[in-house]
Subunit: 112 residues, 2 copies
DNA sequence: CCTCTATCCATAGGTAATCTATATATAGAT
DNA sequence: ATCTATATATAGATTACCTATGGATAGAGG
């Protein structure tokens, strides 16, 4: 049995940006949210999560602020920027287009 | 504007295997088929295609045979093996599971 | 008090997939 | 004669992701 991937490559940034439309969250919270909403199908490993957040910061798609959590811990809370919201729109529409295209190949490829 | 990707990473093997369920095809034909069925949304670059076919050969999921095309050209025709058919099933179900999971995140993430 | 689990951040190093660029070759059309 | 489409393949760069590691603290259970 082939090893089950944790994510569909290329979709992580989109998932993070979308998750942040609910409001500010810290990295760990983002990972938990994605895991829970996906019924444990999608797991964001720490080694994928934090580099991804650095990427998003660098692009100006999110901003980060150190704050205290409810449970009294230091954590970096991320918020979507206007540019990030725009980027999310781009990624969502590209993703949808891809999925539709893949669907056509998978559906039509079986007819001789 | 972010550069539009040619493929969703991680889906190429599945697309090739599925394309071969129609019957034997050579590499160039596989790429054309995917491009056309997807209405030009998915483009399989040569530098992605041939390494992918080598991978599939090595895994025993396809077999290759040199033949002549209708137009009198030398080309390597690929056929699905039994193992390849099984692998396609695995990849299809994993893909569907991933897409469903991503759909849940994208749908539910907007509720505050 | 001590240890374990969960919460929280981050980087280094490895692997794998894809793209760009290049190389080769020929059939058929202009 | 040249251009386009057909046909295969590899090298090198880039990027994304995962594994492994390191650190730190809150709270629970013993």
């Amino acid at each position: 049995m082939a090893k089950k991937p944790d994510l569909l490559p290329g979709t992580l940034d989109m998932l993070i940006l979308k998750t942040l439309t609910r409001g500010a969250l810290h990295g760990y919270g983002i990972a938990l949210s994605i895991k829970r909403l996906s019924d444990d199908v999608l797991t964001v490993e720490e080694g994928s999560l934090y580099p991804a957040l650095q990427r998003l910061l660098l692009q100006g798609w999110v901003k980060g602020e150190w704050k205290m959590t409810d449970t009294g811990r230091r954590a970096r809370f991320y918020t979507l920027t206007a540019a990030g919201r725009k980027q999310l729109g781009i990624e969502l529409s590209q993703f949808e287009q891809m999925i539709t295209a893949i669907g056509r190949v998978l559906r039509d490829a079986q007819e001789a």
